[in-house]
Symmetry: none
Subunit: 127 residues, 2 copies
């Protein structure tokens, strides 16, 4: 398929697809005319890229870990421990932020005096 169809099938703009190629994340075959030709596997590849971007990784990091990812039937399975470690760190940063927001929310509930505040009884305000 050509770039337009891949764009439609993934919901990703043509510009973004060309950008991913520029960053080495995709390597479509070229026709003599220069037209890019993608395979069915690229639909899944683009999906993977988007998941990783959505998780806060940048294209350089994604490029590094792509070879570590085994795609068995749509599942993303990390292969090397370095990758897992990096992802865990990212995860813990997000955990911290969620914790902060939950504390904030509990504070709010205390002020509002709603029923929901009962669930966080004993929670102290942030120092």
């Amino acid at each position: 398929m050509r770039i337009g169809e891949l764009a439609r099938r993934t919901g990703v703009s043509e510009r973004a697809l060309r950008y991913y190629e520029e960053q080495g994340l995709l390597t479509p075959v070229r026709r003599p005319s220069g037209y890019r030709v993608y395979g069915d596997a690229d639909v899944a590849a683009v999906r993977r890229i988007r998941i990783l971007l959505a998780a806060g990784l940048n294209t350089a990091q994604i490029l590094e870990i792509l070879p570590c990812i085994v795609d068995e039937d749509g599942w993303l399975t990390p292969d090397c421990p370095e990758l897992v470690e990096a992802l865990r760190q990212q995860r813990s940063r997000i955990d911290d932020a969620i914790g902060e927001l939950e504390t904030t929310r509990a504070n709010l509930d205390t002020i509002i005096g709603s029923e929901k505040a009962a669930a966080s009884r004993g929670t102290r305000p942030p120092s």
Copy 2:
């Protein structure tokens, strides 16, 4: 304290601190000379801001939820129902922010295939 000391105590550049003020996240008092003067509470405030930024929230989102954070002594006691309503709205924005972060974290978990992902066994990868 002045901006240099706050920068040292938080590890955040002076430029960033001025930027946070520009975005309404910090509101130091000013001396007649124009020098910014911060209080001890601002050290904690900056720390909160950094955690939320690190998790992918932008300054506008942080600005929305920041006034909901009650620290140590500054208890807000709402009398008028308008205030309570405003607080409820803020609460729901915090819920949204938490929801976004949880989605991101779930994406990460799917990739990591960690113990926590086991809880969602059978989950299909995001489209």
